[in-house]
Symmetry: C2
Subunit: 196 residues, 2 copies
């Protein structure tokens, strides 16, 4: 009954798996740019567009990153072809002139309300994080999202001006040629939905 064809459903949702191990195929900045070109059209609150991508490529940067990650996430992050820290820009309104020249008034209001900016950045930045995970799969790649890291540590290491806030760390690559682990269960519609 869905409008999306079966092959796309499989690619994005049903056959896609969170990956731990990847092949040796590299992932280029151009591939990440192409993912961005697609997902940037998905909605954020009032088109605020706070989502940001820190592409962690060099061995030195990876070491700096894993120093703030949980023990169980370190080896797989050092071994992944590429790692992206998806983040939210708490001063997203400064980039609005690039989106629309008519938003100066709204941007000025937000400038004076850092709490509202932070709430909006984290909520919509988390939506963008999910779009990124779907986008990685749309590119034929596998994602390994990880929440097990010290946010204050990662933010202090890579975003010392306090402007960007990390949301998830995501390993990206071609999934290793191995059987994925047995799929964990999911909740049924009756478990998650109420009708009023």
């Amino acid at each position: 009954m869905l409008a999306l064809d079966d092959k796309a459903q499989d690619l994005l949702f049903r056959e896609a798996h969170t990956a731990v191990n990847f092949s040796d195929d590299p992932v280029s900045d151009e591939q990440i740019a192409e993912i961005w070109e697609l997902i940037r059209w998905a909605p954020t609150s009032g088109n605020a567009s706070p989502g940001r991508l820190l592409i962690v490529r060099s061995p030195q940067a990876r070491e700096r990153l894993v120093a703030h990650m949980g023990e169980s996430n370190r080896a797989k992050t050092l071994a992944a072809p590429l790692t992206v820290v998806v983040a939210a820009d708490t001063r997203f309104h400064e980039l609005w002139p690039k989106i629309s020249p008519s938003r100066a008034e709204g941007a000025a209001r937000l400038e004076d309300d850092p709490d509202a900016r932070e709430r909006l950045a984290m909520l919509s930045g988390t939506l963008v994080t999910a779009y990124f995970l779907i986008g990685v799969r749309a590119a034929g790649l596998a994602a390994g999202p990880m929440g097990g890291f010290n946010r204050a540590g990662v933010d202090g290491e890579f975003f010392p001006d306090g402007r960007w806030r990390s949301i998830l760390v995501v390993n990206v690559g071609v999934a290793a040629d191995e059987s994925p682990p047995e799929r964990q269960g999911r909740l049924e519609f009756a478990d998650v939905a109420r009708v009023v």
Copy 2:
């Protein structure tokens, strides 16, 4: 270069628009269930699965909902074929036996750490909210997500036991047969990405 075909890219991202006005076509619970059957496979933190859907269908429930919404969101919500409050269950671990019998120890640890549960529920629940918006589009429908509502008010009205927390209110339907408003701009890759 993407593995996802152009038609699917258009359906989910490039041609899809946030909708304000909808046709008279109804949206059934079965359609929402089918969206859930697809999106439930997308990742949440450790498969925690905290995403929930409050399907607001009856006229009485809509009135209760819009009483807590911003003025600009009321009329369009009352007129939409269906409205879904996407929420996070802060006691998600109680449903883990339905997902996997082997998670009793992790569930017991979370039982004693309500702050960790709330953080995880809101982060992964927000990922599920984004998956839901993509899923609505996958069903050939249009979504009108709204953050402009009083969260404490909506939660007190519909989730008085304090267990579920609202994330976004989403109108759902077939987009009205009208030209969408001119597309707002989006940020370029160079605006959002840094490589280290």
